[in-house]
Symmetry: C2
Subunit: 203 residues, 2 copies
């Protein structure tokens, strides 16, 4: 399979969430136009994106919905179990450990790490909490950083040394990362500020 | 001031976080090259972005760091208080109510709404939790949706009727939104899946 462009990959969950939200039995087929209008994107773009999957649409009829779901799930490796760890078992870390939505994408949060002696040894959402010093080598390729900003870079360095390849960072700092490791930053406060500034311009 | 392009606005927190992270007294000036290398973007792009602020760099010297911080803060309206509410006082909602990082962007989370009688009337992180039925008209322009996927569209509709203009959505569904309202989706599981698929292509 040819590599799929990053932006195309990023849009796949949009399509998947919409396709999964259609109740079974409503309709066997779904057109690219219907998908485009539901997710708020242009039909040409949607058709191009979906052409990157293994599912082939039929002219004037569309895609078989269940086939398209399966093809997108395959592209997103939903059928392959991907282990992930959470670093920082504070309020946000706990929310992630309790969250049940990972399984639909084949992601399995297996453990948390923290430096608080009161948390170490506990179990949250059925997952063990280990001491951060024990984070030396992990088989999991993904991690979510939920520690305060001041500790985030140190944690990221440790994760990379331990073998992690993909990091989702909730700490409000720009992490310095080596080549070959991917980072997605989620900064709720910054996102709200950008949204406010954008809205203000429209007024 | 001319409108600033969306993508330029979205990069402003990157620059701001880096500039804020430099300890005071280290250096009065900062060059666009130093900023570009720190945030991992091209220097031409960084210089173009920063030209959208009121701060003017000096050739071969750079920007006065504190002036550049102030100019970006102005662009992001950090000096203007922006009220926001949280809907859903579960684990994630609680984490947001307790989070102290909003103030640096002028964002003030003022209250939470939930449908759980045990939570209504309580105070989390010093903010009151109201019943979802009381969410009829709010002066806050921003909201964060932290409810389960099944309730998210109904909550979004209610928020828009109540006057909210910007929504950050943590529920894993694609919301249908009217014109004039902005939505930013944060789907941790989907983001991890996209990261995994992108990494897999590079192997």
């Amino acid at each position: 399979m040819n590599p799929v462009a990053g932006l195309t990959l990023e849009r796949m969950p949009l399509y998947l969430k919409y396709l999964r939200s259609i109740p079974d039995g409503i309709s066997l087929y779904i057109s690219s136009g219907a998908i485009a209008s539901a997710v708020g994107l242009g039909e040409v773009l949607v058709r191009k994106d979906l052409a990157q999957t293994e599912c082939v649409g039929r002219p004037k009829i569309g895609y078989v919905r269940t086939e398209l779901i399966a093809a997108i799930e395959k592209l997103l490796l939903c059928d392959r179990e991907k282990g992930a760890i959470v670093v920082g078992a504070g309020a946000l870390g706990k929310a992630l450990l309790d969250y049940s939505g990972f399984a639909r994408y084949g992601i399995k949060i297996v453990a948390a790490y923290d430096n608080d002696p009161e948390k170490i040894g506990q179990s949250i959402g059925g997952k063990p909490v280990y001491g951060i010093d024990e984070l030396t080598s992990v088989s999991e390729k993904f991690a979510v950083i939920c520690v305060p900003a001041s500790a985030a870079q140190e944690v990221a360095d440790r994760l990379i040394r331990a073998g992690v390849k993909g990091i989702m960072n909730f700490a409000p700092v720009q992490l310095k990362i080596v080549d070959g490791v991917k980072v997605v930053n989620v900064d709720v406060a910054a996102n709200l500020a950008v949204m406010a500034a954008a809205l203000n311009q429209n007024i």
